[in-house]
Point group: C2
């Protein structure tokens, strides 16, 4: 047992979760794998395979109950409770995240900004306090921070990572444009808008090439 789940399945569950939210808002009570697939631009077999990994949530001949399925996915993804985040780096990205509506909607709560700049320490940004970076390990424990967000320049990414790991953090979202090294039991996700644009320029470039 315990077949491993595909990373891509997790991402698709998040997509289904949002599509279901939309359907519920529109007053729809049931949905077929075909409809869901159409909404997200994939195949219905993919939708069913993804869901079947976690259980049988549908009714043959009828489809899925939107509210029920959304709730099941919320449980799978751990979205039935709030999560505490700590953002390292009170620069543009760090501050922008404090205003990010989709985090609030999902109960991802930014408990603290950490920065080494004395001018920033002690201030607050839209209700999020800026703390001294050097006191991060204690504060992570005190504030029950579970997810670390790296929003510092590339040069400092590894140093910040090490400090987060020392502080017991097991999940990191890295906005710095550099790969970071972590122990096996720490999960890292990369977020780099420029890389997404580069995957677009690759294709735009192609049109005029050859």
């Amino acid at each position: 047992m315990d077949k491993k789940i595909a990373e891509s399945t997790i991402y698709r569950l998040s997509r289904y979760y949002r599509s279901l939210g939309h359907l519920i808002e529109m007053g729809q009570d049931t949905v077929s794998s075909d409809d869901l697939a159409e909404m997200d631009g994939i195949t219905s077999a993919q939708v069913r395979k993804d869901l079947s990994f976690f259980g049988s949530f549908g009714k043959r001949g009828l489809g899925y109950n939107t509210r029920l399925l959304r709730q099941q996915i919320a449980e799978i993804l751990g979205l039935t409770r709030s999560w505490n985040l700590g953002v390292v780096g009170a620069g543009n990205i760090g501050r922008a995240l404090c205003d990010y509506q989709e985090f609030k909607r999902q109960n991802f709560i930014i408990k603290a900004l950490f920065d080494a700049d004395p001018d920033k320490i002690g201030t607050d940004y839209h209700g999020v306090k800026v703390y001294d970076y050097h006191k991060m390990p204690e504060l992570i424990k005190e504030l029950n921070i579970e997810i670390g967000v790296i929003a510092v320049p590339a040069e400092r990414a590894q140093e910040v990572t090490d400090k987060l790991v020392e502080s017991g953090i097991k999940a990191i979202l890295n906005f710095a444009p550099r790969s970071i090294k972590v122990p096996e039991d720490v999960k890292v996700r990369y977020e780099n808008m420029a890389i997404e644009v580069e995957s677009l320029t690759y294709y735009l470039r192609e049109r005029f090439g050859k």
Copy 2:
């Protein structure tokens, strides 16, 4: 010929590109596939396969010249020239992108913000003008905008998409938390920080589950 390139390869090229920049800054002239792999946490065979798709850039026994390889990757990804972006939605995300350093570094130039709010139209944010959303089609041509960025609420994402497509845009970066539909020849990339966090909470949740 013309075997299709894997999407994942494109993303890894962007990673190599950044790692090579770092090596060059450190004064390193050559690098092996092993070193590059180590930096990005993948296998050396993967690095060589990725590169060999586009040509033979290395020297057997010696490795790759860092400057040369970085230049080759820049050409593959279309990074040897600047690209003009237009951002739809002058809210938190749209404004944050105007300050995003990694865009500037890569010569991704935000030529315009588009918004329907009369209070915002005519103002400017750190040098980027806010234009009337209704005049977008003309302005996209006038300003030579090649890449559209969607930074509006989910409800408006498809409407904005359609308008971008009508205006001749072939590449879209979508920050709205909703899937969008485009013709086959238009490339879309999704950027949703919450989804990345959800792929982390899935794993965090697991530790306490079962």
